[in-house]
């Protein structure tokens, strides 16, 4: 009974959030004269998109590190696989020549979208269907490729313990990066060059026949996909398998003695986490509108790991919350630290380029040292409970 009520309020919460995002995105068209932040081009939406993408990756990493107790640092590598899978599948045939200009075209001369375009048509509603459908298929395939690689990598490395596993997965991510940058594979990966020209979030904006945007969905789409994925992860965590993961984290020996196949469950968690990291990577490619191996360095993994820690290891809502705070701080709110500022006639000392990142890393250290449980610890935000609290307050008043 309780369980049902909980999931019901979660569904409501997510739908409200998604509706809110659509509204927020289109509000400037409805009510003119709003401040700059609400304009569709404001950094608010860029930050929201990036945070949505990162939160999926952070939650997927949390599934592995927080819920299964496997310290893996390969997330950037799996994102890379996802991003490239999506990009390679989705560059339209007529753009390939331009994108792969160094290599005289791509090894595959068609794309998923072209194939589906033949089925449903390329313009109007048919075009929309083929675009959406091919994006979805490509996203799922992106996850699958990452998952399959995770399986192959997992066979040797999942037998390793904590730090060794971390360093081995980090190593795998670096190896993958070197392979994808190899000029000899240029026909497929475009070597060092970025792959671009595939559909991005903006492609989901609905336009009228003259090309004007009628309804903006470019922030809504990542939110939708990401919430869907996170819901799936949460369902997994709350299932029998999720509990088995947690038992592996708490005590491997006891878990094994109680009939839980360690290797199988670790592998399961690793593959699933990588699947979603792959989807996250594909979404990341959509966000930056390109795919280039250079972006997927170990620094990216560290960033995501820090987000997980700030949010609380073992808390999904913590990870999500932390991602939004982290991305907004690092990419938006703290930007003023990078340029000279005057308060009255006084020039604030120290402020110049690069200062933002110094402050930011100090903040991170403070959190790691003094709030080692993170924002949420291992608790979750419970929408139902929050609502109840509000209700109680109202009653009191």
């Amino acid at each position: 009974m309780k369980q049902k009520k909980k999931s019901f309020s979660a569904v409501i919460g997510i739908s409200v959030l998604l509706l809110f995002v659509i509204l927020l995105e289109n509000i400037s068209a409805l009510i003119p004269g709003l401040p700059q932040v609400f304009q569709p081009t404001s950094p608010l939406f860029t930050v929201l998109k990036k945070a949505a993408v990162y939160s999926l990756v952070a939650v997927s990493m949390n599934l592995l590190n927080g819920f299964t107790g496997l310290f893996s640092l390969g997330q950037a590598g799996f994102m890379l696989l996802g991003a490239y899978t999506y990009a390679i599948l989705m560059v339209p045939a007529d753009q390939k020549e331009q994108v792969y200009y160094l290599f005289g075209g791509c090894a595959f001369d068609s794309s998923l979208m072209d194939v589906l375009g033949k089925l449903f048509g390329t313009s109007g509603a048919g075009g929309a269907v083929s675009m959406i459908l091919s994006c979805l298929i490509a996203l799922i395939l992106a996850g699958c490729v990452a998952g399959v690689f995770a399986y192959l990598i997992g066979i040797p490395v999942l037998r390793l313990k904590s730090d060794y596993l971390a360093i081995a997965t980090l190593g795998f991510a670096e190896i993958l990066r070197a392979i994808f940058q190899w000029q000899k594979l240029g026909k497929v990966t475009n070597g060092a060059n970025m792959i671009k020209g595939f559909p991005t979030f903006s492609s989901f904006n609905i336009t009228n026949s003259s090309g004007q945007i009628v309804l903006r969905l470019s922030t809504f789409v990542p939110f939708l996909i990401v919430s869907l994925c996170i819901v799936l992860i949460v369902l997994l965590i709350n299932s029998s398998y999720g509990r088995a993961f947690k038992s592996v984290r708490d005590d491997e020996v006891a878990a094994e003695a109680m009939g839980i196949n360690l290797f199988r469950h670790k592998m399961l968690s690793f593959v699933i986490s990588s699947f979603f990291a792959g989807v996250g990577g594909a979404l990341f490619a959509m966000y930056v509108a390109n795919a280039q191996a250079k972006a997927f360095t170990s620094v990216m993994t560290y960033e995501i790991l820090l987000i997980v820690v700030i949010g609380g290891i073992g808390s999904v809502s913590g990870s999500v919350l932390a991602t939004f705070l982290y991305v907004a701080c690092s990419e938006w709110w703290l930007r003023f630290l990078d340029s000279e500022q005057y308060i009255g006639g006084f020039k604030v000392p120290l402020l110049r380029n690069g200062f933002r990142m110094v402050i930011f890393s100090i903040v991170i250290m403070v959190i790691v040292l003094f709030f080692s449980q993170g924002i949420m610890g291992s608790n979750e935000i419970n929408i139902g409970a929050l609502l109840n609290r509000f209700k109680k307050k109202e009653r009191k008043q």
Binding site: L236, S240, Y241, A244, S247, D250, A254, E256, A257, G259
Partner: protein, 284 residues
């Protein structure tokens, strides 16, 4: 009735140290059998060999008449091998199941130093032990395809907790329970895997005499109720003499005596090697 468990020439050697030396013993079905010996005698190592935590260097273990573990020393281990019978199993296939496979066959255990899942509630601790028998795949679990199965697991867990008198604590963290109840919870968790053979590793460690007496009754009860065979390691002589049908005594990895409680109690070797130490342990 046959033997639930049979060890034959089991030797476990770590580098140059022989922890279990050529141990052979039988645990008949539906009985309570004890394995005793002073500290460091190799009792827990023997348990670990049975449950698949370690792979014995040499020997054979049978469960319900079927071989489940079998090994013989090879390579480096063969050169440094100090035990006996190294040729006996040479021509037979090596069997080395993982602990979860052994649990799946119907052997469950508890641990000397309680190993409950710390971040989880009493209810969850028992529920997870049901996982291996659950009829669901990851997909059906995620998409809630088989809610009936989940409900069945929860109901069974609840029933088990009620039987053990742990139901009132079900939403508390396992580690917050008093020591004696943690022991009991560990046994309940082991029962949740539906074992035929239950291995108890020092179930009375850290208990006062009153609790120990209760424990003896409890072990007898569950043996009867779940139609189990019980094989236990214990230091508490009172408990061992009270509940065991048969006792094996080991020291330095080798068997030094066996028999019904009265026989063992009066055995010269046992008194020499063991009882002195045991009394010390009791005096602690």
């Amino acid at each position: 009735m046959g033997n639930a468990l049979r060890l034959e020439n089991v030797t476990m050697q770590f580098g140059g140290v022989v922890s279990v030396n050529n141990l052979s013993l039988e645990v008949p079905e539906k009985k309570i059998i004890a394995l005793i010996g002073p500290n460091g005698a190799g009792k827990t190592t023997a348990f670990n060999c049975i449950t698949g935590v370690y792979q014995p260097t040499n020997g054979l273990i049978e469960f319900m008449g079927k071989p489940i573990v079998r090994n013989h020393p090879t390579g480096k281990a063969a050169k440094s091998y100090k035990g006996q019978n190294e040729d006996k199993y040479k021509n037979e296939a090596v069997l080395s199941p993982t602990p979860d496979e052994i649990t799946g066959m119907g052997i469950a255990r508890t641990f000397q130093n309680i190993r409950l899942w710390k971040s989880m509630t009493v209810f969850e601790n028992v529920l997870i032990a049901k996982h291996q028998h659950a009829k669901q795949t990851v997909f059906s679990a995620v998409f809630r395809g088989n809610l009936a199965e989940e409900k069945r697991m929860r109901d069974e867990t609840m029933a088990l907790l009620e039987e053990q008198g742990l139901d009132i604590y079900k939403d508390e963290l396992a580690v917050s329970l008093p020591y004696g109840l943690q022991r009991r919870l560990e046994i309940a968790r082991a029962l949740a895997t539906k074992p035929k053979l239950l291995l108890l590793d020092e179930p009375a460690a850290g208990m006062n005499p009153q609790e120990t007496i209760e424990l003896a009754d409890f072990v007898r009860q569950i043996r009867k109720k779940y139609d189990l065979t019980v094989f236990l390691i214990e230091h508490h002589m009172d408990l061992v003499m009270n509940i065991s049908d048969y006792i094996y005594v080991i020291d330095f990895g080798s068997e030094i005596a066996r028999g019904i409680p009265e026989e063992v109690q009066n055995n010269k070797h046992v008194i020499e090697a063991y009882l002195g130490v045991a009394e010390e342990a009791e005096n602690e």
